[in-house]
């Protein structure tokens, strides 16, 4: 009896081994958590007979530390647009030249070039979105297209506001609110931003990446939030609406790149080309609830997502977008000092 068990287990093990041996190879994907649709990987795996492994990270800073250390075993990585120079300057990305790939023509014109990869030598679009404010309309029904929601909040919202601990976004938006440039080293503007944040802090409930339950249960009535996440919250509690501060909101794109020391370069290139296919880009949007940059993907997207107001920046607010940028060390040092003071 026992023997048969062992035999079965052995046979099963051998079958597994045989399967992985017949696969065309591997692809190791390194991405933010909950950012990679499982069905997308499955489809790629089937189409090219590649075994795909997914590893999660939380922040760009965490990811680059692991890549710098070497021996990471990753082939492709998602990099936020503003963070691309950190990788490129240290020679961590491969010049895979996506501009020459078959599906490149699918990219919408406005995304064929981004400031940090103008010729698309390294990256292809994953998704893009905005960071604005989300407010429970049952609590406050005034103007929500303003950063005053968290910097100079109306009476109704005080004590129920969350801001996210994304230091750069928060300080960029505050600087923009007072009419200064993000990443500035002008001490006058920075100290003004700091004082504004310090006085606003009294009205905040938390500085956190809040779980959706906090909005569903209405523990929080407003938060700095991301467009796609806001669409998801609205689906669970229709009291919430998303706004783009006219004084400046963040606009960002996350991109797929191949690492300079990738072991499976061919599969990685196939994957870059694969995600520029409209049907596949739609899968990413349907899962993450963020916009993709691929024309023709609408045909494959969830109707609810296409009509989601959060994903459509109103015409008159499009000019207020702040491009996420990586500040120079001096500005970064001042940002960190403000942040330490703020959360001391």
């Amino acid at each position: 009896m026992k023997r048969t068990h062992t035999g079965t287990a052995l046979a099963a093990g051998l079958t597994l081994l045989a399967q992985s041996a017949t696969a065309e190879g591997n692809l190791n994907v390194y991405n933010f958590g909950l950012y990679t649709p499982p069905d997308l990987l499955e489809k790629f795996s089937k189409e090219y007979d590649v075994e795909v492994t997914l590893t999660d990270f939380v922040a760009n800073e965490e990811a680059i530390a692991r890549i710098q250390a070497g021996g990471h075993g990753m082939d492709v990585i998602i990099v936020s647009g503003y963070f691309i120079p950190a990788y490129v300057d240290q020679g961590l990305l491969m010049e895979s030249n996506p501009a020459g790939m078959e599906n490149f023509h699918n990219i919408a014109d406005q995304w064929k070039s981004i400031p940090t990869d103008p010729e698309r030598k390294y990256t292809v679009p994953w998704v893009w979105g905005t960071t604005g404010v989300m407010v429970n309309r049952k609590v406050y029904d005034g103007d929500i297209n303003t950063a005053a929601i968290f910097l100079d909040p109306p009476e109704e919202l005080k004590g129920g506001i969350n801001i996210v601990p994304s230091m750069n976004d928060m300080i960029d938006m505050t600087l923009s609110y007072i009419g200064a440039e993000p990443c500035t080293t002008d001490r006058e503007s920075l100290s003004k931003a700091r004082d504004l944040l310090l006085s606003a802090k009294e009205n905040w409930a938390s500085v956190d990446y809040p779980s959706f339950e906090k909005f569903i249960n209405e523990d929080l009535s407003a938060s700095v939030f991301w467009s796609g996440a806001a669409a998801r919250v609205r689906g669970l509690n229709d009291g919430f609406a998303y706004g783009w501060p006219k004084d400046g909101y963040m606009k960002w794109m996350d991109n797929l790149a191949i690492l300079a020391d990738a072991a499976n370069v061919e599969n990685a290139k196939l994957f870059q080309n694969f995600v520029m296919e409209p049907e596949n880009a739609a899968m990413i949007s349907n899962y993450t609830m963020y916009n993709n940059a691929i024309t023709g993907s609408e045909a494959f997207m969830d109707p609810a997502l296409i009509s989601a107001p959060e994903l459509e920046v109103p015409e008159d607010l499009q000019g207020a977008a702040i491009e996420q940028t990586l500040c120079a060390p001096e500005a970064q040092d001042l940002y960190t000092r403000i942040w330490t003071e703020l959360t001391r």
Partner: protein, 309 residues
């Protein structure tokens, strides 16, 4: 029999062989200590004296900037040096929180341990099981479970509302009290286990003897029970205090992240702040604080033993 030179030589050869044998036996332990403790600490010390890289990490080159920033801030306008009061506030908060957590786990842990240790031996295992089961669960899960109890629409508020004790939900989340509740819950087993071990070994005939000699209950507790439990209490306090000092997840989740702990400050420097030397220097500062406290305690305990003995 007179010692002859050959015998002495062979004797010292035996002694040398013995020393070699001892060293080789100690080698695995020494290797583990070197690899897991001294080496990483050495890396941290080295990093704290290097220059910050532009995109995080460190650059080769000696610099005292990391250590300077631990103690001295710069004026926002003229860059003149001023004491880093923000760091002091954060360190003081971390120490106070760790002390309060230790005190609370003491208050709740001692009666719990006493209760379990005085059950019949057969049922003790079940009580211990109840204490240790949450301890096997992931820290994050436990913290979120506590959140569920005390949030605005949580179990506790619903209970209080239903019984008519309150009319409006109490705001308990995101307060210092919430952090303390969370920390106490998370670290309680670390206090209960060593104290339980000490009480379990306690010979209750000693208490009886004290009563026979007309000791009051309080006197018996103070002079007989407590001194015998003391090693367990000390071990428990150290086990709670040290991780509580570096606690990071629980204060962030329960306190809402509006006020940093030392652990969050270190995280900020290694992450978004991209200032690894400062992060390393802050980590070593925390280690030094803990080691300092331990040395102070060990000295005091040694002195106490000397005067008692």
């Amino acid at each position: 029999m007179p010692r002859n030179p050959t015998a002495a030589a062979s004797e010292s050869a035996v002694a040398r062989a013995e020393t070699r044998r001892r060293w080789s036996l100690a080698l695995p332990a020494l290797t583990v200590i070197t690899l897991c403790s001294i080496l990483p600490l050495g890396v941290m010390v080295a990093y704290s004296f290097m220059e910050a890289g532009q995109y995080g990490n460190v650059q080769w080159g000696f610099s005292l900037e990391g250590w300077r920033a631990v103690f001295l801030d710069r004026d926002f306008f003229d860059d003149s040096y001023i004491p880093a009061t923000a760091h002091l506030t954060i360190l003081a908060r971390s120490i106070l929180l760790a002390l309060a957590t230790t005190a609370l786990t003491f208050v709740f842990g001692i009666p719990t341990a006493w209760f379990i240790a005085t059950r019949p031996p057969a049922t003790r295992a079940y009580w211990m099981f109840l204490i240790t089961v949450p301890f096997w669960t992931n820290l994050l899960v436990r913290t979120i479970a506590i959140q569920e109890v005390i949030r605005a629409d949580g179990t506790l508020n619903r209970l209080l509302l239903a019984t008519g004790l309150i009319d409006e939900p109490l705001q308990m989340m995101f307060t210092n009290g919430a952090v303390l509740v969370g920390m106490t819950y998370v670290y309680l087993p670390l206090m209960v286990l060593p104290v339980y071990a000490a009480i379990e070994k306690f010979d209750f005939r000693l208490a009886e003897a004290a009563y026979d000699l007309h000791a009051s209950r309080l006197y018996c507790l103070r002079r007989v029970v407590l001194p015998l439990m003391w090693p367990g209490i000390v071990a428990g306090s150290i086990l709670v205090f040290i991780p509580a000092l570096g606690a990071y997840v629980t204060p962030r989740l329960m306190g809402g992240g509006r006020a940093m702990m030392w652990g969050n400050l270190i995280d900020l420097q290694f992450g978004q702040g991209r200032n690894w030397p400062l992060g390393a220097a802050l980590s070593i500062t925390l280690t030094l604080v803990v080691v300092g406290a331990m040395v102070w305690y060990a000295r005091r305990a040694a002195k106490g033993d000397a005067t008692n003995g």
